[in-house]
Symmetry: C2
Subunit: 457 residues, 2 copies
């Protein structure tokens, strides 16, 4: 039993769709963030579920790790082949299989990116709302339980996946859920696989909920003197039941980054970026009521726009925030944090974090999906500078502790991967052991993305 025998067998099945070319291995072993590259031994490019099942069967027989790969945009070393093995790249399984307009759902293969999916859907009047900024694959988004700017209105991947087809660790193919809107027929396997980061099986098909394209979209940006004022604006808006489609926070350091990277002209103070979806009447009514709250909280410069260009520029700037922050420090790499707390504790969480970073030796702009209580610090370190990496890890560690102390979670949306393993015990206690029990029962050989989510041995 060996990885090499698995690869030999796989090449008979996949021919030149199994690659061991060095650049391919490197590409699939690197990470968007600070993790060192850990390449797999081969990359497989399956074209259908049966092939995926064959791949997993062969790997299972040879005790060879299997690592799913969507678009490689995850941030916690999720796809690092830390014990080697075969990376299953889903880029050739990227089709829309069926659009059911009456039921407002769509069946897709996992490799399709969210941008391609929405381009495909354009003519139907429907769209898939989950938007992590990066052009991630739908399979990868399900595997990390991703969310992003629109979760405050439309929910996360947890809320937007109806059904899955999954290849299990022994190669069996199962279907979880159905196209029905709800079910009480036994354990919720769909929710179990969503967020399991490829450690329980490979997702080969997804049925997703869709939304009707809003008749009107209004967006705006406004500035605040203090973090607390911005957060209180969010809390009041939620309590008044004004349905925001997006509400994003950026701190003064991020505003600086936008000014430099995107040529923005923002005062270097905390900001909120918002969007409303609805009918012409309701979107403008929502924006008007929101404007009143901003006024009450001392916010400035609130001016809403329904022009598509303005909106596109605003969200392009936000979606590139990570790169704008990276550019603040030439050549830097990042440790990205991702805590999420009850919204009543959010101002406190951000302010403490801001102060902690300011007192440290490294820069770290803060930005986040404040409608969910979720924010990130982009801790900028010099590549190879272990002292700085330690500083960043300490800051990250204190953020995790802060999140738990305030009743929250160590990762709101990025997932555990390898980067957040050390906080799982603190967050879940014996619950983490239960996750281990489940993993062992579904993947007794620990071949599915080993080393992520759990520490097994």
């Amino acid at each position: 039993m060996s990885i090499q025998s698995a690869i030999a067998e796989l090449s008979l099945v996949l021919g030149d769709r199994l690659s061991s070319a060095k650049p391919d291995l490197e590409l699939h072993g690197q990470s968007e963030t600070h993790f060192t590259t850990m390449p797999p031994d081969a990359v497989a490019y399956p074209e259908n579920t049966d092939e995926v099942s064959k791949i997993v069967r062969i790997c299972a027989a040879q005790d060879c790790p299997v690592i799913g790969w969507g678009a490689g945009t995850s941030l916690e070393g999720h796809t690092s082949a830390f014990r080697g093995g075969v990376c299953v790249d889903f880029s050739r399984m990227n089709k829309v299989l069926v659009v059911n307009a009456e039921d407002m759902d769509v069946v897709v293969q996992p490799g399709i990116t969210r941008e391609d999916l929405n381009t495909d859907l354009r003519a139907t009047g429907l769209f898939f709302p989950v938007d992590p900024g990066a052009n991630a694959s739908i399979g990868g988004m399900a595997a990390t339980r991703a969310s992003g700017t629109t979760a405050v209105r439309y929910g996360t991947m947890r809320d937007n996946v109806r059904a899955l087809e999954v290849v299990l660790a022994d190669g069996r193919i199962i279907r979880t859920g159905s196209r029905a809107r709800k079910s009480s027929a036994g354990y919720d396997l769909t929710s179990l696989f969503v967020g399991s980061e490829g450690t329980l099986g490979l997702i080969t098909e997804l049925t997703l909920k869709l939304q009707g394209q809003p008749e009107a979209v209004a967006s705006a940006i406004c500035a605040f003197d203090a973090i607390e004022d911005a957060v209180n604006t969010v809390i009041t808006t939620i309590q008044m039941g004004i349905p925001m489609a997006r509400i994003e926070f950026v701190d003064s350091a991020t505003a600086t980054a936008f000014n430099i990277y995107a040529g923005a002209n923002m005062p270097e103070v905390p900001h909120l970026l918002v969007e409303f979806h609805g009918s012409d009447t309701s979107a403008s009514e929502d924006a008007r009521r929101f404007g009143e709250i901003v006024d009450d909280m001392g916010g400035k410069g609130f001016e809403w726009s329904t022009k598509a260009e303005d909106r596109r520029a605003l969200w392009a700037m936000r979606h590139n925030a990570y790169y704008a922050c990276l550019a603040l420090r030439r050549g830097a790499t990042a440790l990205v944090t991702d805590i999420c707390v009850p919204i009543s504790r959010l101002a406190e969480a951000i302010e403490e974090t801001r102060a902690d970073i300011t007192n440290s030796s490294i820069p770290g702009p803060i930005l986040g999906h404040v409608g969910d209580g979720n924010f990130h610090a982009i801790l900028l370190v010099e590549p190879g500078n272990t002292k700085e990496l330690e500083v960043a890890k300490d800051l990250s560690h204190r953020m995790a502790e802060r999140a738990l102390r305030l009743g929250g979670t160590i990762t709101g949306e990025h997932g555990v991967g390898m980067g957040k393993l050390d906080y799982m015990q603190a967050e879940h206690g014996d619950g983490w052991a239960v996750m281990g029990d489940i993993k062992r029962s579904l993947d007794p050989k620990n071949i599915m993305n080993p080393g992520k989510v759990l520490k097994l041995n």
Copy 2:
């Protein structure tokens, strides 16, 4: 090792809060529907989580079944002590522990009923929306993944539970989820326990999402010539994005039942009962737009009301529909079906079911939560008449097949219990085996509500 030794030990812990009185055993062994009574050997009334943990530890050591009990309103023989054992009645764990108004969440014990919870919340301006009609316990509702009339707007228990405290099959206490609005920190254990029907552990605390009480509520009822027209009205309303808070279907037989039982004065044809929540402007605007769709579909008698009395009368009638249907046939007991299909197939599903029942020898009114594609036939049988029960089971069997053929599920909200076990293989295939693997890993002795959800041996 025996049930009797467990009971002896338990009585030392619980004193007179462990009951073996016959009426108590009978009460906890009976079912709302056609299942024969299967009493437990004792009923425990714990007052806190530690006691629940002690109970489970003792039962685990003695291999004694443990059956959770909330309000006993479930419909599939969920609480039947089919191998005897100890029923854990949560009625003394019925407190609201904390209301977090800013975060719009509440922490409760499992035994509180949804009506008591909402009474308690009244002064806060918040409410808990999930409404199965019956005054079920929150713990039981989570355990069955209940929904009901408001799921079309607010989701099911799956969508409304943020976090749980659970006593596992070995007595360990874990917490799943947190008060944060989202998380990607590992497997979604909250979703695993929601809907697990007490087969993986006992829920001892729940953190629930709350909603703001709407400023305005408008309700209405309208009649249709054909089932299809009613369903098309629903589909169009959803596609236009008009946010219904409730949309209920009743067929002509149910209308007859309402006329007799509730003194209604309804034409004996299919009806829709609807409700809108919003601001004064939006609720009336929604009702107006809905009225136009009803007109287009040939619906009649649509007249909306914002009066609380009218609304209360309407929903009291709907909530008592089960008893109104039972009363159609003196002394009858019911087999209640609960299929859910993609909404595009709903008219077909209801019409085929209507025809099948009409051709049978027993009555069976149909009603349902049509916004979700979910409906029930209340199949009325004479108690003890095995031939009629067979007819009902055949009808139910064909409904399950129909649901699966149309891409749906055999139970939209009532759960599996003992009543829907025979269709689990057809719905889930190897997925059912995966559920069995999970069960074995978390409850290796199969003491938690044995005989429900799974067939193990």
